[in-house]
């Protein structure tokens, strides 16, 4: 037993032979998604003494979150997850931690938020958000640890830009609901399968009511069912009952706090290990040598994919190889090329800037943040932030380019 009293709350972890508390305290982690897994990761990292957290979640707290999202309570229902998480973490777990909280969609976040982070922790609940984060991680060569859970299963994938597969490698198939949502013609055109009628109904519900349907409201369920059955009867599909429609369009992945806790524990640990590996040179020489010996003998490694099954109590890890033809991390990907920097006056109108860009790069399309439509008469500074990145592309060729937008200051 060590009899020397310590005044550090991190005393027990600092006794580890491979540990450098200063690396953790100097690090910034961007956590996207503050649900069952993200909230636990934020709590874990705060208790480990991380220097800064950037928390992002556009969702509000719902009653059904309270069985597993330990940062939230009944009085928080209706409030934004990221903002409540910030308050609770500072109040309950670590008052000295620096936290920024954003209640926006990830597509609307300025690029600088990604640049500030040392590592990204992806804890989102859908395919499209994962792919969006993946592209930013590859572009900035940022380590990215992604997690996902579904009922009794949890997984953690570690993406090391140069050495491992990214989330887009080998063209993963998007889940069915994503395929439906990304095909606007399905929503306005002819339904090919019965489920399309339910998705059309949801789209029409949004248009008519300008809000999400409440799955606990019998009135909303009736409205959705009526809309779905209008399409179903028109296109000769069997009719829906209310339960079926709700299950189809408002499906929620089953979640268990136990699986969230194991998955987030693995994810948090991989985050810390990745930070240590990236800053190996910060360790004192003696520790560094020991550390290197463990790495060389494969006794310290970061698995590419770890899968936890609560049904069998097994945790398995797998190596994942890069797809050389991957559109995001492959050699010819635009995200792996050096972007061009353009200096512009933020007060210039979007239309002017984009005309100049199109002429300069001989491309027809400009995309950024999920290809939002851009109003021409608005100053570019109201749409983009300094250091944001945009894409220019053309239908004629596949040669897309990434461009960094720098705002001209008075001095420059």
């Amino acid at each position: 037993m060590n009899s020397i009293p310590s005044d550090s709350v991190f005393d027990r972890q600092e006794r580890l032979s491979i540990w450098d508390q200063s690396i953790i305290e100097d690090s910034c982690v961007l956590i996207i998604g503050l649900g069952g897994t993200g909230g636990e990761v934020a709590k874990n990292l705060a208790l480990l003494g991380i220097g800064k957290l950037i928390l992002v979640d556009m969702d509000t707290i719902e009653f059904s979150n309270l069985n597993r999202q330990l940062l939230f309570s009944r009085s928080d229902i209706g409030k934004n997850k990221a903002r409540v998480a910030k308050e609770v973490i500072k109040d309950r777990f670590n008052s000295s931690i620096d936290i920024d909280a954003y209640s926006d969609t990830i597509q609307s976040l300025p690029f600088s938020i990604f640049e500030e982070a040392d590592i990204i922790s992806g804890c989102v609940d859908n395919f499209l958000a994962r792919q969006y984060i993946n592209e930013h991680a590859i572009e900035l060569s940022l380590p990215f640890i992604d997690s996902a859970t579904d009922g009794y299963f949890g997984q953690v994938q570690s993406i090391d830009v140069k050495n491992t597969a990214c989330l887009a490698c080998d063209s993963p198939h998007p889940p069915e609901e994503t395929r439906l949502l990304t095909a606007p013609c399905t929503l306005v055109g002819t339904p090919r399968i019965r489920e399309h009628c339910a998705w059309k109904a949801l789209y029409e519900f949004h248009t008519l009511n300008e809000r999400e349907p409440d799955e606990n409201s019998s009135e909303d369920a009736l409205k959705l069912t009526k809309l779905a059955n209008e399409s179903a009867s028109k296109y000769n599909f069997p009719l829906f009952d209310e339960k079926e429609v709700i299950q189809t369009v408002l499906y929620h992945v089953p979640s268990l706090i136990t699986v969230n806790a194991v998955t987030s524990g693995i994810q948090s640990q991989e985050i810390i290990k990745t930070l240590f590996l990236d800053k190996l040179n910060h360790f004192p020489e003696k520790s560094r040598k020991y550390f290197q010996t463990l790495i060389d003998s494969e006794r310290f490694r970061i698995p590419d994919l770890t899968i936890y099954s609560a049904l069998t109590g097994t945790i398995n890890s797998f190596d994942l190889k890069k797809d050389p033809e991957c559109l995001v991390c492959g050699d010819s990907s635009m995200y792996c090329q050096n972007p061009t920097t353009i200096n512009i006056n933020p007060k210039s109108k979007c239309r002017t800037i984009f005309t100049v860009l199109k002429r300069k790069f001989k491309k027809d399309f400009i995309g950024f943040r999920g290809n939002t439509l851009i109003p021409g008469d608005v100053p570019v500074g109201e749409i983009l932030k300094d250091r944001d990145r945009i894409t220019v592309s053309s239908l004629i060729d596949d040669d897309e380019k990434r461009i960094i937008i720098r705002f001209k200051t008075k001095k420059s």
């Binding site: 649900g35 069952g36 609940d125 997690s147 859970t149 597969a165 490698c169 979640s255 069998t312 097994t314």
Partner: protein, 109 residues
Amino acid sequence: MSNRKKDVVWDSNVSSPGTPSDTIERMIKVRFKDPQLPPDQNIREKYININGTVFQALSAARDAFNIPEVVPIALLFKGRRMNPSNNLASYNIEENALLMIVPDQIKGG
């Protein structure tokens, strides 16, 4: 399981794998591994048509371990996730190749 699938997939325990009904079929023995099972039970052999699709190999994997259709699975081969609509031949799979079964479509947050 459809009759068509039975034509191209069968247990390796069968002494004679039979004659494929389609001349372009080329059967090879592969090993499926389901790491969720205990180590002495987690590898099973199957014959698959190398000129078939990954989707057919997924069916064979389900057969080998009795994995129901409702459980989404994927196959890894040499660290690459196999796309169900691709042809197996595009992965250069050889006799006795080890195909790893992993859960697929885990997506919640």
